[in-house]
Symmetry: C2
Subunit: 240 residues, 2 copies
């Protein structure tokens, strides 16, 4: 029976997906440190030992959830970029990335905490599994800000901060250390702003309108990456 194997396999991946779904739900409700295989099994109505048919260990489930979170964020970002009028310049693209990240962060706070917050205690993510999904947004950023590359603006400090060998980011991307350093700084500003809002690190009664605040912060982030003077570039002028 050829179809039968298909059924078993289908069941298997259906349950695998169920486990991930419930895991994500628990992550969202209780946070990563409280993620428990037993609780997930309970929610699925199966014996806790049965989960081990699908998942090696608690840590492996956590790894899968981290990868899923990275992918979920990156999908949201890619979607937002795809919705832009084509071709879009670096500024609207950057803004779209930030707004999509912000939207995703406030709708998935625990998943955001998982990938951009403090590390989960007693857990080390295996880089070979998390890096591919984890660099998707970063790669988009590099791609989007590439038109702002300007080797003449690169300073010695930029090179020192990032390194400039062939194994380093400048070597890998072919961009100058200046844009890269400024781009990372701008992104740090964005993440710092989102983190502060999400973890409510502000003291009492600051600020009132988070969207207006983020909007202004984006302008400041763009001022960091953008060339100081009006910039001639093949793709910048296109804003339908």
């Amino acid at each position: 029976m050829v179809a039968a194997e298909g059924i078993r396999a289908r069941n298997r991946s259906a349950i695998e997906a169920e486990i991930l779904r419930v895991g994500r739900e628990h992550l969202g409700r209780y946070g990563a440190a409280a993620l428990s295989l037993r609780a997930v099994a309970r929610d699925l109505g199966m014996a806790s030992s049965a989960v081990y048919r699908y998942v090696d260990s608690r840590d492996e489930l956590l790894t899968r959830l981290i990868v899923a979170a990275y992918d979920s964020l990156a999908d949201t970002v890619d979607d937002a970029l795809a919705r832009l009028p084509d071709p879009a310049g670096p500024d609207p693209s950057f803004r779209a990335i930030v707004l999509a990240t912000h939207r995703w962060a406030i709708t998935h706070p625990h998943e955001y905490a998982l990938i951009y917050g403090s590390p989960v205690p007693d857990y080390d993510a295996p880089p070979e599994r998390t890096t591919p999904a984890g660099t998707r947004v970063t790669n988009r950023l590099i791609q989007v800000l590439a038109p702002y590359a300007d080797p003449e603006r690169e300073t010695a400090r930029d090179r020192q901060a990032l390194g400039d060998g062939p194994d380093d980011l400048p070597g890998q991307t072919g961009l100058d250390a200046g844009v890269l350093r400024r781009g990372i700084t701008a992104w740090n500003l964005v993440l710092g702003t989102i983190t502060a809002e999400l973890f409510s690190q502000y003291g009492p009664s600051i600020p009132r309108d988070d969207d207006a605040f983020l909007d202004a912060a984006i302008d400041e982030a763009l001022a960091i990456v953008r060339p100081p003077r009006p910039h001639r570039s093949s793709s910048t002028s296109a804003r339908s």
Copy 2:
């Protein structure tokens, strides 16, 4: 015996301090989520129940440690400011605050995570206990950046982002919403940079020299708060 009461009280506060010390050590070694009264008691060589003579509950110990962390950071910052040539302008003062915070963060990573990282699961800090210590650094920042206040530069968006009633930050500090918004943004940039370094959120091989990177980020943060044109101010010119 008047001295005798003194002895008991002295013992008491000595042991209280010991508990905090060991608690801080555990925090630094295992992180907040893993903080356990039993483990602290074990380390002190006393029965786990004995700790309850000094601390109401695990959560209360955590609260004390959070307050201690805020105070430790704020002390470090105040120290750094006190070491500056007097009177120091906003730029060197801001730089000193950032460098002190960075130094403190890398020497106290778990305490940094506690106050600037993701919230501890199943724990809500009582604001009336954490706010006084938690706002010390922020207040210093406001004080240091006050010379950059410039009501004429304030925009409608600044006011919208921060609110401008008497209960809001502008009303409380007497500064315009513009400096405040830009100051908070600059601070978010700083915290975002420190967080990214500390939690190693960078992909592979970025960046090489964290100090150079932070140094450049500080310049960008200052560009955000500083007035666009050379600024006349009573305290700015003093740089011995």
